[in-house]
């Protein structure tokens, strides 16, 4: 019973924070709203019993990605023209399109997918079982993902290197 309430609470918070993201003016506030969304989502995951993902959500997304984002915001001067005028010229058509999109998808899903959560806290999603499953069945994806990360590191270095050479 309490789980349902909490689920609704967390889901609602996520939605509200996401909506806030769209209307706040200062990018730092937007970043904080996003962090709130992410944390609420972590809560949802935990309530669903997928603890592994919940933990990693907090660690990776909030802990690394959002920190980096905040760092970037602090580095740049955000009080420029986009501060004065938040929205682009496509606000209205975009809103209408987004509503249409939601309606269409909702309509599609309504007919197809039944909504029945299984028991929470399934053993499948404990960290031990998850890791075994991950590195046994899906080791190829794991390796590919590491390749992707290496590529990202190289790219980042390349970006910085260019900058460094110019300064030096």
């Amino acid at each position: 019973m309490i789980e349902t309430v909490l689920l609704w609470l967390f889901a609602g918070t996520a939605l509200a924070a996401a909506a806030l993201m769209l209307v706040l003016r200062h990018p730092m506030r937007v970043a904080l709203a996003l962090s709130a969304t992410m944390l609420s989502l972590a809560g949802v995951y935990a309530l669903l019993g997928v603890h592994v993902i919940a933990i990693f959500q907090v660690l990776i997304y909030v802990g690394a990605v959002m920190v980096f984002m905040v760092y970037a915001i602090m580095l740049l001067d955000v009080r420029d023209y986009s501060f004065a005028r938040r929205f682009s010229w496509l606000l209205l058509p975009g809103t209408l399109a987004a509503i249409a999109f939601v309606l269409i998808l909702a309509h599609a899903f309504w007919q197809g997918v039944p909504d029945q959560p299984t028991a929470a806290g399934s053993v499948l999603f404990g960290i031990q079982e998850f890791s075994i499953e991950f590195l046994n069945e899906y080791w190829l994806h794991f390796e590919l993902v590491s390749v992707l990360l290496v590529a990202a590191v190289v790219a980042a270095l390349a970006v910085l290197e260019v900058g460094r050479r110019r300064r030096g």
């Binding site: 682009s88 496509l90 975009g94 399109a97 987004a98 999109f101 269409i104 599609a108």
Partner: protein, 625 residues
């Protein structure tokens, strides 16, 4: 030889090929031998054919050379037909033609295109023989077009001069206009009768009611004849054709090619006998042309132009005869005209040769003693054309005058009056020409006078032969020879008693012309000068040839050019075609430019468009799932 007619036709063709391909390499002597020898050989074969024909009782001989196109039970064949009419024509063409070839060896001596000249001349003979020997109108038409081509090539022989080249073009184009009528006539005949063989066509029209109006066919064929024989309204090319070498003028524009129209009408007499409207038209145009050309000839100052207009006028006489049903008389005049007109042209060539190229008779005079042979032959030929008895022209012209007056098929007093006046004018202007050229005080420039000399034997011998023929040719009665083929028309009974008076009248007219010339031009020509000043306007109109060329240019030439430029070029081609193409290209370009505005570099727009795409694909995929 089994096919002598084919041989007659092919001999000049061989001459064309030999001289055309090898002439330049093998030299003038080869060219002369081949160029003159082959026509003479053709003449000999023609004489033999005539003797055979007479022996065989005048039944026509038909040689089939080649069956060209067989469609079901109809065939277009290249066949040659030899009867008495064809005999007359072939002998004139090859005989007078050979004489003119001989003359040319002297006249064109030293010309750098000697071989080309003889090649073209032989080519002309080939086509002319196709014309007169052809059995079917189609073969005749091939010859018809071919002589037009040869005429173009020979008129524009010295083509480096643009005026001469233009004269050649004018001749060919004017001929072609007439040929359109000829073709239409052929189409009508073929469609109605299923054959183009002239003997069959004549028979079909002769026996009962044919499937098509004889007058229609007659008029269409006559349109072709007006083009070829330089009658109104297509006469404009012949005076300009004098730009070619003089022997060419003699052969083509006096003796043979221009007479093809008369031959056509005579040959198709089966049609014209049954077509009174067409015959009346022929007679009317013939008379009008004869008169009209004679009036212009009175004031011409170029020796060849006088003869050119004289030719047009004499052709008009022939058509008058054909128009009133006296076809054999027309052929008779064709025959005598070939002799004296060729003699006159060649004589003119001789004069020009003596005068080192001068052709203006105002700058001649007193040549009688300096070039006696030319003078004698020229005068005999002039007397012949004027109609002084007993020379050839008198007989043929008198017959024409008689039938124009008294034929029951269209003879009338008006017709007679017109051509009698023309006969008077003919006598006048021809003797005027003789007077101004050979008599009186010499008006030559000194250096020309220094070089005046009689022509070589190759030229004078031909002149003598033709003068003799002009003198005695009339005693061979062609109408009698052709009686079985081309019967003479009935004479209106009431007018029979005028026969002798009219003969006397002809003689009077001939001498009256001579007298008038002596009066106007004798003793210094002051009377002629005063007449010219008194009738200055008339003189100007006549000198301007009634401004027919200018009228054609203004009424036809310039509007056509205007239409071509404004309608077809500016509007049709540039605006419509180019405009459509450019328009399509511009449409493509502007559409592209419009569509390119989507890619404005703005990520927001890209994202929105991606969202649209997603929505559409979901909606579409979902509906079709």
């Amino acid at each position: 030889m089994s096919q002598p007619l084919t041989a007659i036709v092919l001999l000049p063709l061989a001459g064309f090929l030999l001289n055309g391909l090898l002439g330049n390499r093998l030299g003038p002597r080869f060219v002369s031998t081949v160029g003159c020898g082959l026509p003479i050989a053709a003449f000999a074969v023609a004489v033999k054919c005539l003797l055979d024909l007479q022996a065989a009782g005048a039944t026509p001989r038909i040689d089939l050379a080649y069956s060209w196109l067989v469609t079901g039970d109809n065939a277009f064949e290249i066949a040659f037909y030899f009867d008495r009419l064809a005999a007359v024509m072939v002998l004139i063409v090859t005989g007078v033609g050979s004489l003119i070839h001989l003359y040319s060896t002297g006249y064109m001596k030293g010309d750098k295109s000697y071989a080309r000249y003889f090649a073209y001349l032989n080519l002309f003979l080939f086509f002319m023989l196709l014309l007169v020997l052809g059995r079917s109108l189609l073969v005749l038409f091939v010859g018809w077009e071919g002589v037009g081509l040869a005429s173009y090539l020979l008129i524009g022989f010295w083509f480096e001069d643009p005026d001469k080249a233009r004269a050649g073009k004018k001749a060919f184009i004017t001929n072609r206009i007439g040929d359109a009528g000829f073709l239409l006539g052929m189409f009508v005949i073929y469609q109605a009768l299923g054959t183009l063989d002239m003997d069959r066509v004549n028979a079909a029209f002769g026996s009962g009611v044919p499937a098509v109006s004889a007058s229609l066919v007659g008029i269409l064929l006559f349109i072709g004849a007006t083009g070829k024989s330089a009658q109104i309204p297509l006469h404009v090319w012949l005076p300009d054709a004098m730009a070619g070498p003089t022997p060419v003028s003699a052969l083509i524009h006096a003796a043979t090619m221009v007479t093809a129209g008369v031959y056509l009408v005579a040959r198709m007499s089966g049609i014209y006998v049954n077509a009174p409207e067409a015959s009346a038209l022929i007679a009317a145009i013939g008379a009008a042309t004869a008169f009209f050309a004679a009036t212009i000839a009175v004031v011409q100052t170029d020796i060849k132009k006088v003869l050119a207009y004289s030719t047009i006028s004499q052709l008009g006489f022939m058509f008058v005869a054909a128009g009133v049903g006296a076809y054999s008389v027309a052929i008779f005049h064709l025959y005598t005209h070939a002799f004296f007109k060729a003699c006159l042209f060649l004589g003119a060539g001789s004069v020009i040769h003596a005068m080192s190229g001068e052709q203006d008779i105002r700058k001649m005079g007193g040549l009688a003693r300096k070039i006696p042979v030319t003078f004698a032959t020229f005068t005999i030929a002039t007397a012949a054309i004027a109609g002084i008895p007993p020379l050839a022209g008198f007989f043929s012209k008198d017959e024409i005058l008689w039938f124009a007056f008294a034929s029951s098929r269209g003879g009338s007093g008006l017709l007679y009056g017109t051509i009698a006046t023309t006969a008077l004018l003919t006598s006048f202007y021809m003797f005027r020409l003789v007077w101004l050229t050979f008599f009186g005080r010499s008006r030559l420039t000194p250096e020309v006078e220094h070089h005046v000399h009689e022509s070589p034997l190759s030229m004078t011998s031909v002149l003598v032969v033709l003068a003799i023929l002009s003198a005695i040719g009339g005693f061979l009665s062609i109408p009698h020879f052709l009686e079985s083929l081309l019967p003479l028309p009935e004479i209106v009974p009431a007018l029979e008693r005028y026969e002798t008076p009219l003969v006397v009248a002809s003689i009077v007219l001939a001498f009256a012309g001579l007298g008038a010339t002596a009066y106007m031009y004798g003793g210094g020509a002051e009377r002629a000068e005063r007449a010219r000043l008194r009738f200055a306007t008339l003189h100007r109109i006549l000198s301007g040839k009634y401004y027919v060329d200018e009228a054609y240019d203004a009424l036809i030439g310039r509007p056509l050019v205007w239409i071509s430029e404004r309608v077809f070029l500016a509007f049709g081609d540039r605006t419509l075609f180019d405009g459509t193409l450019h328009g399509l290209a511009a449409l493509g370009r502007r559409t592209a430019a419009g569509l390119a505005r989507v890619q404005n570099g703005n990520l927001h727009l890209y994202a929105l468009l991606a969202l649209f795409g997603i929505i559409v694909s979901i909606a579409w995929g979902w509906r079709h799932v």
